[in-house]
Symmetry: C2
Subunit: 366 residues, 2 copies
């Protein structure tokens, strides 16, 4: 199939750009002496996870148990589940997953949850690998750093059926701070309590094998921290407008990784010379960011959402009118929830579709 | 399965409320002497379409060809595709669909598109039923009402392989006008050119069998228009916050239809007494509306989005703290794109799951 034959709206991945992104991140973590366990919540696509691991990643992080189950069934190992697994029925599923993929890890931020995991693992004769999830200022999940985190780590280390492996701290609030210097300052401040917790835990006699964290926004910041052992950056492999605009260390935009993912749409109506409608709306792009999709190589076009299935294009360059049936590609504001709208990714190289990759964990937030 | 055993985040449909919604709309259109072809873009679920038809609907509207293909494969008939089908490959698919489900209709707003449809239908020995899509102020698709629309209708009526059936005008800009009186005024003004176009087309000797339009917001307004033959309201069957808040004819909220759809989530972290995190974020609720999901029967809780998989709950009632593992149901801001995030709907009656209905056309925006 040719790129131009893909039915729209559709996700297209530029393989040359994608592969350069994987290689650049691999070289970066190698130079920094860190591991990479990229976040698969970005793509939910086992084929991308396989390629990340082939390029040197030690596994993938999964936001949810359901995502991890899909990855494990596809043979992906080195899984870390970054949201607490709480209800009893889900803990049963986790134990089953751990028997299939014993190196799977899960985060914990509460002693009650640790005890439930311990009971279930012990009953099944399994061992669950655990990281303590530490609050680093994002006001999401996580126990307070310092003494509370060390006490939880000690409890986990003492419980049968659990193996304490280390710490996680995800400073999501730093990922999109505009400007590299400001972002570095924010991330250093946020991550310092995580580093301090590692030192306290080790002083308390606990072996802290793993300290995980980081985003695509802080990929070249968090590796400066000696206590960090692995990066969880996810979006770097495909990129999006939100990450491009935050700026790089030596550039106005974040250019270390290339914009590899697009949504391709078709003009289905041209009601006026300066207006056209495309077949891509709220169900083709995520809407969680306050800026619109951006037409690639057509800077004179402005997109606005116009319903579930429509985008309205305002045309600023009357010398290049929009034709009925014309295909237009857009960069998405935010990659993760945009990919989660699609069942497949069209992997394209120089106009040819090389593969159609199922987004097999799409919708698996459970 | 019990309601409380559904893995979260998940979509739950209250069957008692849902059935009352279907019955109320059926009684309403019967009283008004109109037909109902509800918009299946709301639910993308063949089982819901079947139940709407069983309750008296003459078919369903589909936003896209892909959606219609799924409905047809499930035996649903009386399909109307409300977005123009433009690329040649899609026109081929449409012709195939029409051979399987000959009463399928499609909208057209451009003579070039009409000629392409005619050529493809003629080559296949098929007949495509066509409505002319008329711009009624929403600045989306549609030809201008009046003379341009009548000229297009006349051309369609003259083309081999096409059968002119009537007109469609969707005034999306009126659907959520706050307050019934203001909404009535807006919709009457918007729809007047559609009515006028019907009269002009008939004066020109064209048989206008169908005039379609309307939303859940205007369900009891557009039926006042003698020229309208069928209503396309979609959201009424499940409802959402956005429609509830617009107000009814005699009520502050739109209460003619009940809030039948919820997203059920689980508390996975309780970092502070006044804050808890649930497992439902950007991938569990659509984010296109400027107001958050609303906790059902827990008015002291405020939800804010906190990433792909997290919602942050602020607790205003310290006497009723949130427990780890507690399940909380939310009304979604906007039903259509929220349902489109899920593969299934859990149909529940009084705490028991009666059915798990595939959202079989999920993602079929193509």
């Amino acid at each position: 199939m040719k790129r131009d034959d893909i039915p729209t709206p559709a996700l297209v991945l530029d393989l040359d750009r994608f592969e350069r992104n994987l290689d650049r991140m691999a070289a970066h973590v190698t130079r920094a002496g860190k591991n990479l366990r990229p976040h698969a919540k970005t793509h939910r696509c086992p084929e991308i996870a396989r390629r990340q691991i082939k390029a040197g990643a030690i596994g993938v992080a999964c936001a949810k148990l359901g995502e991890a189950e899909v990855m494990a069934a596809e043979g992906i190992r080195g899984l870390l589940i970054t949201t607490e697994v709480v209800p009893a029925a889900k803990i049963e599923r986790l134990v089953k997953l751990v028997r299939e993929a014993p190196d799977t890890m899960v985060v914990v931020d509460h002693a009650d949850n640790a005890r439930e995991l311990s009971r279930a693992a012990t009953a099944a004769g399994a061992v669950i690998n655990v990281l303590v999830d530490i609050e680093v200022g994002g006001r999401r999940t996580g126990i307070q750093p310092g003494a509370p985190a060390v006490a939880l780590a000690r409890e986990i280390a003492s419980l049968p059926g659990l193996r304490f492996r280390g710490l996680q701290g995800y400073a999501g609030q730093c990922a999109h701070v505009m400007g590299w210097a400001a972002r570095r300052e924010a991330s250093r401040a946020a991550m310092a309590p995580l580093a301090e917790t590692r030192r306290l835990a080790e002083a308390a006699g606990l072996a802290v094998e793993i300290v995980a964290g980081g985003s695509t926004g802080t990929f070249d910041i968090d590796v400066e921290m000696p206590e960090l052992t692995e990066l969880q950056s996810g979006s770097y492999c495909v990129m999006d407008i939100d990450y491009r605009r935050i700026g790089g260390q030596r550039s106005e935009a974040l250019t270390a990784f290339e914009m590899a993912l697009t949504v391709v749409a078709t003009v289905v109506s041209v009601p006026e010379a300066t207006r056209a409608m495309v077949d891509a709306g709220l169900k083709a792009f995520s809407t969680d960011k306050p800026f619109p999709p951006e037409a690639v190589e057509r800077p004179g076009i402005e997109y606005t959402f116009a319903g579930d299935e429509h985008g309205r294009l305002a045309l600023r360059d009357p010398d290049r009118p929009l034709r009925l049936g014309e295909r237009i590609e857009f960069f998405a504001p935010h990659c993760d929830p945009t990919i989660n709208l699609y069942d497949r990714i069209h992997a394209v190289r120089q106009g040819e579709v090389e593969g159609i990759w199922p987004v097999a964990a799409r919708g698996r937030s459970d």
